[in-house]
Symmetry: C2
Subunit: 346 residues, 2 copies
């Protein structure tokens, strides 16, 4: 008897690559080839940054993220505040009100307790400041050489208002693409710290909780199609995901995208494209064209989005294709990278 | 100006030890000295295996656990099914109906994709069998040497019936201590696999989902005081936590505790005490003395608790103290170990 139901096993030589954790093409491949065929949940298959669940009529958002950033302390934050803000943001971009977080520490034997204390306090301060509660946790310790100091998983629960349905599959021709501010600060802050590079004007991570900004946007219109925080893989990867899931084209304008001079300089030095560099306090919103002006105005009134701007639009072009009109008037394809330019940035 | 509000910083030489992840005395110290002072949530301070939250009148249980077991495949299970059952059980012992899980993979570069596929399928099968849905996830990859193949965090949500309030702080003098079956199978299955030891009768992990068993118990009486799954640190650590939090004494009878011969033999060989060896499909329940007979009867009707028995009682003895009457008629103190006898077993 022959069974056709099992996928052909991968050759034994195939192993996990750093790029499988990049949020880029290899991560998408892992989802498609391994996770989605096994985990058959229709909620998971939506591939949003958070699951939206319904329990006894209550709509909940639920999301998980592990933070492996190296170094753990960096200009503008640390792995603790990042772990709190990152999960809050994954809830917020689904339109949810973040409420509760779990925290799971994975510690390597020999990690300084003073650093653990500092990181823990940073998490507590970040959660307090954002009005969310850390309510449950776990600690595991692995032998020296089986970890890298500290990794932190945070998982979050929030409530989603009735009637709100944001999705990366919702973008439509004519929609405006809005970006909340300058890009690449987080990735470059990490990289310069890691490499011991002194920049003329130091770059700080933009790490921040975005739920009051998403509130402000939803206060203008609940017709928002998609919100995403462009972390791993940067703005380019976020837009590629949206274009692919919505089966639309997206065109962005290079001149509309703000990059701090120091970030641009560091990117040139390291041969990086800021469009692919991680952010931790930025937001991409896709809204109906008619609502764009009002949304940008509301965003600019928020301290985390003073430089919000329309950076492009959703088109009837080739589905899944993101293109950019450059400062020189040419057009180039903004593709999904196979891996990440910078591993271990979040 | 002198401030008295900051705890004295730990000396820089103090570092994380393997025992800090054991579930024993060092883990308790970490909670008391670092986590609880920073995370001021009253829910966390209850130190249950799960947080019970109330959102718009709905009672939810919420729990997180990271699995670092080595080796990842072992007799009776693997890290994938263990990660699903472990989090289901932490919900179930709070009296919750487990509903949804998140999964976060932390992969080391070079981990075989075929193993990842097998583990993923095992998680999917375990979740399907238990009737819970894996609805959201995350994947991170770290460089070779910064991890150990695969670590998995699962975080779970369940619903808690109105009026049910289980807590490790609820045990009272006169209550019965019930154990669901033979102890030590999981830890010894891991250890013999790790050491390449051949036993005459091989020991399999007891890894299983306990929520139908907890349902059966709660079907007899909702006056159950505490339920715990004695994992890290074994039955001894679970009883110590309950005795400490309830400010009661607990006396158990060695002769009432079943240990498989092969487990006993391996424990003697390695110098381990089965009371401290991890289980992954066992349950300790503390119930009013008058309900004990009915609860044991209902448990024995369940396939996972055929050998359930009353193993001891809650006394008015020294608060926090667990003692055991041995087979020889003597009494010994069953203390909290500083660390774990066996690291990386869950």
């Amino acid at each position: 008897m022959t069974s056709f139901s099992c996928p052909a096993p991968l050759p034994a030589r195939e192993t996990v690559l750093l790029g499988h954790g990049s949020g880029g093409a290899l991560t998408a491949e892992l989802m498609r080839d391994i996770f989605l065929p096994a985990f058959t949940s229709p909620v998971l298959a939506r591939l949003e940054d958070q699951a939206t669940l319904e329990i006894s009529g209550l709509r909940l958002a639920f999301t998980t993220d592990t933070f492996v950033v190296k170094p753990v302390f960096f200009p503008g934050g640390d792995i603790g505040s990042l772990a709190v803000y990152g999960t809050i943001n994954d809830l917020a971009v689904g339109g949810a009100q973040p409420l509760f977080l779990s925290v799971a520490f994975l510690l390597e034997e020999g990690f300084p307790l003073a650093d653990l204390r500092r990181i823990t306090q940073s998490m507590a301060d970040a959660a307090d400041g954002a009005g969310v509660s850390i309510v449950t946790g776990d600690t595991k310790v692995v032998e020296k050489g089986s970890g890298d100091g500290i990794y932190i998983n945070t998982t979050g629960i929030g409530t989603v208002p009735a009637g709100l349905h944001l999705s990366a599959a919702n973008a439509r021709q004519g929609d405006a693409v809005i970006l909340s501010g300058p890009i690449g600060d987080h990735g470059i802050a990490i990289l310069t710290q890691r490499e011991g590079l002194q920049l003329e004007s130091p770059v700080e991570s933009d790490s921040a909780a975005l739920h009051t900004l998403t509130d402000a946007i939803l206060g203008v219109t609940t017709e928002v199609r998609v919100m995403r925080d462009p972390t791993r893989g940067g703005v380019a990867s976020a837009l590629n995901e949206i274009a692919a899931q919505s089966h639309v084209g997206i065109v962005i304008e290079e001149q509309a995208i703000v990059v701090h001079d120091a970030v641009r300089g560091a990117c040139e030095l390291f041969g990086l494209d800021p469009l692919y560099v991680a952010n931790e306090g930025k937001l991409v919103a896709i809204v109906p064209g008619a609502a764009a002006f009002g949304v940008v105005k509301a965003m600019r009134a928020h301290p985390l989005a003073r430089e919000a701007a329309v950076i492009g639009q959703v088109t009837g072009g080739e589905p899944g294709l993101v293109t950019m009109r450059t400062a020189f008037g040419t057009t180039r394809i903004v593709d999904l990278l196979p891996g990440d330019q910078l591993p271990r940035i979040c």
